[in-house]
């Protein structure tokens, strides 16, 4: 029945009067408002409005919860850049981001290459490597805090078993950050591996065969064929991992709360402390703006690099 009626419609709709077209457009617009309206309205209210408001807040001397706010122009930014602790925060953020993004990409790629081999039980291994990514950051932080416990933790026992003494992870300056990075890698490496696995599986087998026929060994094939073909996947991962690393909060909150002496305070954590603990909301908004600009620069840079690599796919 339906297929018979198809040709009959055509003559009816071919010369549309401007009147009926206008009515149709109005109807479409109504449907658009009904279907997309709620989502777009929520985005405007809870993402775009705060984005703009945050720029405005960053020009105020204003404490969270107080009614009094004074316009100070760029004073918050000047204060941030002239505060010596800012360079520490920036340094911690840079180390944390580079170590977590770089580390998870390298380890994730190795893991993906390993789990791409035809080995018994690789399905189970893939799943186990992936599970931590789905766990609550707070729970993961608590769990590892226990493992890093200098007296009763699993790690100190293991280190002593191989003749090393465990550092005071919680209280010694570089070790707290190292601890955070290790835990972050443990949580995210499975995710990176799964994305790389998807990329590896999209590489056609005959490309590898062709490389093998040209006399390329395993390492040479990896370097000259597989890695370049994974370029777009790597770019995607660098962006998403950098964004999530710069925004990570749960682990720091659960494990170090920014200490000892600010040695694990990232920009994100500083915003939380300034905004919600010491209450300097204007100053925190300025920091947030600085971080936002940083994110935009990283993303824009990566997108340009990615654009250049897209032709591989």
């Amino acid at each position: 029945m339906t297929s018979v009626s198809v040709p009959r419609v055509e003559p009816r709709s071919s010369p549309p009067t401007s009147e009926s077209r206008r009515r149709r457009q109005r109807k479409n617009l109504l449907w658009f408002l009904l279907l997309a309206g709620p989502n777009i309205a929520l985005l405007l209210v809870f993402v775009y409005r705060p984005l703009i408001l945050s720029f405005y807040y960053s020009t105020l001397q204003w404490n969270m919860g107080s009614a009094a706010a004074r316009f100070v122009g760029l004073d918050n930014y000047i204060a941030w850049f002239s505060d010596p602790s800012s360079s520490t925060t920036l340094g911690v953020t840079a180390i944390f981001t580079v170590a977590t993004v770089g580390g998870s990409l390298v380890l994730g790629l190795l893991l993906a290459l390993l789990l791409n081999q035809k080995l018994a039980g690789r399905g189970m291994a893939r799943m186990l490597a992936f599970i931590p990514y789905g766990l609550s950051g707070i729970a993961v932080g608590m769990l590892w805090l226990y493992i890093f416990d200098p007296r009763y933790g699993l790690l100190s026992t293991l280190l002593e078993a191989v003749g090393l003494t465990s550092p005071q992870w919680y209280t010694e300056s570089p070790w707290a950050l190292v601890m955070l990075i290790i835990v972050y890698l443990w949580k995210h490496v499975g995710y990176v591996a799964i994305i790389y696995l998807a990329g590896l599986q999209s590489i056609p087998q005959d490309m590898r065969d062709a490389a093998a026929l040209d006399g390329a060994g395993r390492l040479r094939t990896l370097r000259s064929v597989i890695l370049p073909l994974l370029g777009p996947v790597s770019s995607f991962l660098v962006i998403t991992m950098a964004l999530s690393s710069l925004q990570s909060f749960d682990l720091i909150q659960a494990m170090t709360q920014g200490g000892p002496l600010g040695s694990t305070t990232t920009l994100m954590y500083q915003i939380y402390v300034d905004g919600f603990q010491t209450g300097r909301a204007g100053y925190a908004s300025a920091t947030a703006t600085i971080l936002f600009v940083l994110l935009l620069v990283i993303t824009a840079f990566q997108l340009r690099v990615m654009d250049r690599k897209v032709h591989y796919s």
Binding site: T2, N39, I40, F46, L115, G137, R151, A210, Q253, Y272
Partner: protein, 302 residues
């Protein structure tokens, strides 16, 4: 020069059937050594990934004395539930679990609904500014949480929504990621089916739920899974807007437990950690294949 001449396609194509036997021959001597090396690497990976989680579960059943013996005691003498009991009396664990379930189900359900409707409108409705609207949605993926938390907090506070479910839920509802993925998928659907549906008199609402959604089940499942996991683990925002245990979800409660008891009662903390993580671990193990597809969905388009 000569290598270039030797490389036209047909030459490479011809010997392609050969590799399988050739490979098997090439592998045999060195093969078993490399093979066992690979297995050792897999076993190490599995150990590194799973021992912390096993250690957590074991610790949750240990007594205070068992937790503080040196050298470490691997297994608890008996599976006693004291730690769970103590966690439940220190914080209202059951209530928080229910809060988490409610917020997760409601939050991800609404998110998926909003995403589906918005993506349908962006793909199948012919209106001006459609491209701009999509860009508006897409750009939000680049706006980080930290720039929105302070203004959103003041808004929620001024609405009197602190310590309410809507205060936790509403600001995070809008779906940019879901909308994006749904749109990408909808663009691949056969237009003929929808045109036929339209001619049969099906309105937009019917077309969405009777035709588009059933043709997109894998994507819907993927987005739902990612949302469920995300909502269950949500921490910073609920922590900011709740300090009452009546509406507080589990992860926030977990830090409360840490604050109250300090660092020493690892057994109690691990018991609560098990409760927070178990639903996800069990869900992951049941849904294995689906999940991997779900989490990689965003990557293939990137």
């Amino acid at each position: 020069m000569s290598t270039i001449l030797e490389r036209p396609r047909p030459v490479v194509r011809e010997p392609v059937p050969a590799p399988p036997p050739a490979r098997r021959v090439r592998r045999s001597p060195v093969h078993s050594v490399g093979r066992s090396g690979l297995y050792i690497a897999v076993v190490l990976t599995v150990l590194v990934m799973s021992i912390p989680m096993i250690w957590m579960v074991l610790a949750s059943f240990k007594t205070e004395a068992e937790l503080s013996t040196l050298p470490l005691q691997w297994l608890p003498e008996a599976f006693n539930l004291d730690n769970y009991r103590q966690a439940a009396t220190t914080i209202p664990l059951g209530r928080m679990f229910l809060n988490s379930v409610l917020l997760t189900v409601l939050g991800s359900g609404l998110k998926v609904m909003l995403g589906l409707c918005c993506a349908y409108a962006l793909v199948f409705l012919d209106i001006p500014f459609k491209k701009f609207m999509f860009a508006l949605v897409l750009f939000t993926l680049l706006i980080p949480a930290q720039i929105t938390i302070i203004p959103n907090y003041t808004l929620v506070a001024s609405l009197g929504w602190l310590n309410t479910y809507q205060g936790i839920l509403v600001p995070g509802l809008a779906s940019a990621f879901g909308t994006f993925l749904f749109r990408q998928h909808f663009l691949t659907l056969p237009a003929a089916v929808l045109e036929a549906a339209e001619m049969d008199g099906a309105g937009h609402w019917r077309r969405l739920w009777r035709f588009v959604v059933p043709m997109s089940i894998p994507t819907v499942v993927a987005v739902s899974l990612v949302s469920l996991v995300g909502e269950w683990n949500e921490y910073l925002w609920p922590r900011l807007v709740t300090d009452s245990t009546d509406t507080m979800p589990l992860p926030v409660g977990l830090t409360l437990l840490q604050d109250i008891d300090g660092m020493n009662s690892w057994g109690v903390l691990m018991a609560a950690t098990v409760i927070v993580t178990m639903p996800i671990v069990v869900g992951f193990l049941i849904l294995q294949r689906r999940l991997v597809a779900g989490f990689t969905a965003g990557a293939t388009t990137g």
